[in-house]
C-alpha cells in the first residue's frame, strides 16, 4: 500500500451527485446520510463515503440495513450514511453486544457496525472478542486512529508503542492488534486497510457485506486533530508504506521516559 495521508483530503469530499441508478433503481443520493460534523480532513469521512459507494454499487435495499455504533467520533458516522436505514448510536464499547442482539432478532438484516479503536480495543475488547467468537452476522468496521477524538486526544489501546501523544505522553505498552485477535477468535473475514485507499476499502466492504458471519475491517484512519504531530506514528508525517508494528517501530524523536512515569503512561491501567 502506498497511499499517504495527504491523499485523504481529496477523498473526503462527498461523491459527486449523479442520476445514475443501481440495480434496484436507487441513486447514490439514496445512500447518503446527514452532513458530517467531523473535523475537515478526518479519515472517517473517507470511510463513510466508501460505505455509501459500496452499498450503492451492491444495490442493497437500505431498509434492510441496521447501522450500529458505539460512542466516539467513528460511532457518530453511522448518521452520515444510509439515511433510510435504522441507526443506533449505542453505548461506549458495547456495539458488539447490541449488534449481536439485533442480528439474531431479525436474521434478514444486514448489520453494519462502525466503531473506533477506543470503543473496540479499549473499553469493548471483551465484547468484541466474543462477538467474533460467536460469528454473529455483522460487518464490523474499526476506524482506527490510535486515539480518543471526542475526549481530546488520549491514547487508545491501538496506539503504537513509542508513539508520542499530543499531550506529550509516550506510549510504553504494546498495541492491541485487532486483526490478529479476530483471526485468533476464528473470524472468517478479517481485513486491514487504510481510509485513504478508498478503492480498496470499497472492495473490502462489498466482500464483507456479502460475507455470512462476522467480518472485521480494521481501517487505519488518521485523526487530523489529535494525532497528527511529530512523534505520532499515525500522523501525516508518517509514510504509510508499511504499517508500524511493535517490532519494527523505533521512536526517533524521544528517549524513553523516566521509569517513575512509566506506569502512568500505560493506557487502561488502573
Amino acid at each position: 500500500m502506498s497511499t499517504t495521508v495527504a491523499d485523504v483530503s481529496k477523498e473526503t469530499k462527498a461523491p459527486a451527485a449523479s442520476s445514475k441508478t443501481n440495480r434496484i433503481g436507487l441513486t447514490m443520493q439514496d445512500y447518503r446520510g446527514a452532513e458530517s460534523t467531523l473535523c475537515a480532513g478526518c479519515g472517517h469521512d473517507a470511510i463513510t463515503n466508501s460505505i455509501i459507494k459500496a452499498f450503492f454499487e451492491l444495490g442493497v435495499d437500505p431498509h434492510m440495513v441496521a447501522k450500529l455504533s458505539g460512542i466516539g467520533c467513528s460511532s457518530k458516522t453511522t448518521n452520515y450514511f444510509l439515511n433510510q436505514s435504522h441507526g443506533f448510536n449505542s453505548l461506549h464499547g458495547r456495539m458488539a453486544t447490541i449488534a449481536t442482539g439485533s442480528s439474531l432478532a431479525n436474521r434478514k438484516l444486514i448489520n453494519i457496525g462502525v466503531s473506533g479503536d477506543g470503543d473496540t480495543a479499549s473499553i469493548g475488547l471483551g465484547n468484541f472478542s466474543h462477538m467474533v467468537r460467536r460469528n454473529a452476522h455483522i460487518v464490523y468496521i474499526v476506524e482506527n486512529n490510535g486515539c480518543y477524538g471526542l475526549t481530546k486526544g488520549q491514547a487508545s489501546a491501538t496506539a503504537d508503542r513509542g508513539t508520542r501523544m499530543k499531550s506529550g505522553q509516550t506510549i510504553e505498552s504494546a498495541p492491541v492488534d485487532l486483526c490478529s485477535l479476530a483471526i485468533q477468535m476464528g473470524c472468517g473475514f478479517v481485513a486491514r486497510s487504510f481510509s485513504g485507499d478508498t478503492q480498496q476499502v470499497r472492495t473490502l466492504l462489498k466482500a464483507a457485506i456479502a460475507h455470512r458471519g462476522t467480518a472485521v475491517l480494521d481501517i487505519v484512519s488518521p485523526c487530523v486533530t489529535f494525532n497528527n504531530h511529530e512523534g505520532s506514528t499515525k500522523s501525516r508525517c508518517t509514510k504509510w508504506t508499511s504499517f508500524p508494528t511493535t517490532k519494527t517501530f523505533r521512536s526517533s524523536t524521544k528517549k524513553a521516559p523516566p521509569k517513575s512515569s512509566r506506569c502512568t503512561t500505560v493506557p487502561g491501567s488502573p
Binding site: H63, H86, G87, N89, R94, T97, G101, A105, G126
Partner: protein, 617 residues
C-alpha cells in the same frame, strides 16, 4: 442395634395424648453434594400426594460438595407455608453441624440421628430416634460407592414410619423422582423399605406429630418460582434470551432453554424460532437484549444484584432510547462471597432508579408462584406497551424454593406489540416522528428495522434528540423529552398490576408488603388477630410506580407498617418520596438476615411499631 430412646421429658406444651396433625416443620441437615436432594424431594412429594399442603426451603452454601446444607419442609393443613424458625423434627445427617443442629432445637422437639452420633446428644429434653444407618445401608445396598447416596432415602423411610406416612406414598414418590431410571428407583425403594420396616419394628410410637391423609392438594402443583417464570416467558411469547450464569437466577434460564427447545421449533424446518445466548458478562447480556428489543424481538435477561450493577449503564440506554426490554432480578444478598445463596429484597431501590441521569423504571413484584408465571408475560407486554425497560423483582426464596400453588392458567389476551407502525400505517399517517407524544400518554410510536417504507427509518440515540429523532443539544428539546418520559411513567402507574388490598374493619394498623413476604405476612395477620386480638389491614404491592390505591390505603390508616426484606426500608423510602404527607406514619418493619421472612418475625415487628406509636402519643 441400639434401642431407640423416646421417653425423654419434655417442656412441650403439646399434650402427650393428642398429637398435632399435619402441622410441623422438618429440618434435614446434610452435607451438600451427598445426593440428599432427591431424598428430600421424595419426602416432600409423598406428603403432597398424601393430600397435605407442603412447602420447602433449601438452605444451601455457595459450594458444590461438602459444606452444610439444610432442607426445611413445612407441613401445614391450613396452608401456612411461609418459613418458620422453629423445628419440630430434626434429621441430623451431617456430623459437621450435628452439635449445632441439636442445640438449636426447642425442648420437646424430635431428633432423628445416626446412632454413632449418640454422644453428641447431651440434652434430655428431646425425643430422640437413634438409627443404625450404617448397618441398614450395608444390608440394603451391596454397592459400597452408592451407599453415601442411598442412605438419604433411608431417613425418608424412617420419617414415614415416625410420622405415619403410608409407605406406598414413599414408593410412588420414588418412582416419580427417578422416572425412567428403573434400577435406581428399585434400589431406593428397597433401601427406604428396609429403613421403614426397621423403624416400624424398633422405634417406639411417638405421639407428638402425625400426618394424616387429606384432600387439600388436588389441582395444586409444586414448583419453584424460576421455573414458573420460565413458563411465563414461554407463554408470553419471548423470542430472545441473553444471560450470564449467576445464582439464584441461572435455573430460570436453564428451565426456559429446556422449554424453548421442546416447544419452539418451526414445524416444517425444525429450526428454532427463538435465540438464546449465554453471554460473556452481564454488560453483554443486557446489550444483546437491547439490540434484540430494538430490532423487534421480545427479549429479556435474568440475573441477580451483581449482574444488575453491571447492567446499570444499559438500563439508562433502554430508558432514554425507549427500547422494550425486561430484566428478571432474582434478588439475593450482595457481593459474591458469603451469602450469595441467601434471599433478600435489597435491589428494589437500585432497580427503581438504576442508571445515570433522571431514570425511573417500572418494577413488577411477584408474590407467589402464579405471579412469577403471570408477571413474566406481563413484563414482556408492558415493556412493549411502554417502550421501556421493565424489571421483575423476584428473589431467591421465590425463585429457588419449592412452593405449592394453584396450577397456572395462561393468559388468553392476544400478544400486543404496542405502538409499532408498519409500512401500511406509515403510508396512511404520512409522517413519522419517533419521539412525538401523539396520544398524550407519553408513549411515542416506533418502527422496526426492516420496515420497507421510506419514512420508517430513524436514528436511535441515548440522550439528546428531537421529536423526529435528530441530534439536538437544545435545552428545550432535552427538557421536553424527559418531561414526556415522566408522563410515560405516570401512564405506567395505571397499567401495571394493581395492589391487592384486604381491609379489615377495626384494624389497628395497615401493613404494606411485597414479593416473597406475602405468605409470612398473611400468617402473621392471622396470629395477630387470633393470639393478640389485633386486627390489621393489608396492601400487597405488586408493582412500582404506585398510584392512588396506595395513597388511599395510607390515608385510611394511622400507622402503616412496611414489611421489607432489606436493611434500609427501600420501598418505605420510595413511598415517602411519593407521599411526603405520610412520611411519619409509614414505618419500616425490616427483616434482613438472609433467611426467608417468617410470620413470628412479622408479628414481633408489627407489635413493636404499634407499641412505638402508642409510646409517642
Amino acid at each position: 442395634m441400639s434401642q431407640a430412646v423416646a421417653e425423654a421429658e419434655t417442656n412441650s406444651d403439646r399434650s402427650a395424648s393428642s398429637p398435632s396433625i399435619n402441622d410441623l416443620v422438618i429440618k434435614i441437615a446434610t452435607p451438600n453434594g451427598s445426593g440428599s436432594q432427591s431424598a428430600n424431594l421424595i419426602l416432600m412429594r409423598s406428603i403432597f400426594t398424601l393430600g397435605v399442603p407442603v412447602g420447602a426451603k433449601n438452605l444451601f452454601p455457595s459450594n458444590i460438595q461438602g459444606l452444610p446444607t439444610w432442607f426445611i419442609v413445612r407441613v401445614n393443613e391450613n396452608g401456612w407455608l411461609a418459613h418458620r424458625n422453629h423445628t419440630d423434627l430434626m434429621v441430623a445427617m451431617n456430623p459437621q453441624t450435628a452439635a449445632e443442629d441439636i442445640t438449636e432445637l426447642d425442648p420437646g422437639a424430635m431428633l432423628v440421628i445416626d446412632e454413632t452420633f449418640k454422644s453428641l446428644v447431651k440434652r434430655d429434653d428431646l425425643h430422640c430416634f437413634f438409627i443404625p444407618f450404617n448397618t441398614l445401608v450395608k444390608e440394603a445396598c451391596p454397592e459400597t460407592r452408592l451407599r453415601k447416596m442411598v442412605v438419604n432415602v433411608m431417613y425418608v423411610g424412617v420419617l414415614a414410619s415416625v410420622l405415619g406416612i403410608p409407605f406406598e406414598e414413599i414408593g410412588n414418590a420414588i418412582d416419580w423422582q427417578f422416572a425412567k431410571k428403573i434400577k435406581a428407583a428399585e434400589l431406593n425403594k428397597t433401601a427406604a423399605l428396609a429403613a421403614y420396616t426397621w423403624a416400624e419394628e424398633h422405634l417406639p410410637k411417638q405421639n407428638l406429630h402425625r400426618l394424616e391423609r387429606r384432600n387439600l392438594t388436588k389441582d395444586k402443583i409444586v414448583i419453584e418460582g424460576n421455573e414458573a417464570a420460565a413458563l411465563g416467558m414461554l407463554f408470553g411469547g419471548v423470542t430472545f434470551l441473553a444471560w450470564y450464569p449467576i445464582t439464584p437466577s441461572s435455573s430460570l434460564c436453564e428451565h426456559l432453554i429446556k422449554y424453548l427447545g421442546k416447544h419452539r421449533r418451526d414445524p416444517e424446518t425444525g429450526q428454532a424460532t427463538y435465540a438464546v445466548i449465554q453471554a460473556e458478562d452481564e454488560l453483554a447480556s443486557m446489550g444483546m437484549v437491547i439490540g434484540a428489543g430494538w430490532a423487534g424481538a421480545r427479549a429479556f435477561t435474568a440475573t441477580s444484584g451483581p449482574g444488575i450493577s453491571l447492567m446499570a449503564e444499559m438500563a439508562g440506554l433502554a430508558y432514554f432510547a425507549e427500547i422494550p426490554s425486561v430484566i428478571v432480578d432474582i434478588q439475593r444478598m450482595g457481593p459474591s462471597t458469603g451469602l450469595p445463596t441467601r434471599t433478600s429484597q435489597g435491589d428494589v431501590a437500585k432497580a427503581y432508579y438504576l442508571s445515570h441521569g433522571d431514570c425511573k423504571h417500572v418494577l413488577l413484584l411477584p408474590g407467589n408462584m402464579q405471579e412469577c408465571f403471570e408477571f413474566s408475560e406481563e413484563a414482556l407486554h408492558l415493556a412493549e406497551q411502554l417502550q421501556t425497560l421493565v424489571f421483575v423483582m423476584s428473589d431467591l426464596d421465590l425463585g429457588m424454593n419449592k412452593w405449592m400453588s394453584d396450577s397456572f392458567t395462561p393468559s388468553t389476551k392476544p400478544i400486543s406489540r404496542g405502538k409499532v407502525l408498519n409500512a401500511e400505517e406509515l403510508s396512511r399517517n404520512g409522517e413519522f416522528a419517533r419521539y412525538r407524544d401523539v396520544d398524550g400518554d407519553g408513549i411515542p410510536y416506533r418502527t422496526l428495522p426492516g420496515t420497507l417504507h421510506p419514512n420508517a427509518a430513524y436514528f436511535t440515540r441515548g440522550t439528546g434528540h428531537t421529536e423526529i429523532a435528530t441530534y439536538s443539544e437544545k435545552p428545550e428539546d432535552w427538557q421536553r423529552n424527559i418531561d414526556r418520559l415522566h408522563r410515560k411513567f405516570d401512564t405506567a402507574r395505571e397499567v401495571v398490576p394493581q395492589p391487592m388490598v384486604s381491609e379489615t374493619e377495626g384494624s389497628v394498623a395497615g401493613i404494606i408488603a411485597y414479593g416473597s413476604s406475602d405468605p409470612a405476612v398473611a400468617e402473621a395477620r392471622h396470629i395477630l388477630e387470633t393470639k393478640h386480638d389485633i386486627k390489621t389491614s393489608y396492601l400487597r404491592l405488586r408493582a412500582l410506580p404506585v398510584n392512588g390505591a396506595v395513597k388511599a390505603f395510607c390515608e385510611r390508616h394511622s400507622l402503616v407498617c412496611v414489611v421489607e426484606q432489606n436493611r434500609d426500608g427501600q420501598v418505605t423510602s420510595i413511598l415517602r418520596g411519593e407521599y411526603p404527607e405520610f412520611g411519619a406514619k409509614l414505618k419500616p418493619a425490616l427483616h434482613y438476615n438472609g433467611m426467608p421472612i417468617d410470620a413470628d418475625s412479622v408479628v414481633e415487628l408489627v407489635l413493636q411499631r404499634i407499641a412505638e406509636q402508642k409510646g409517642s402519643k
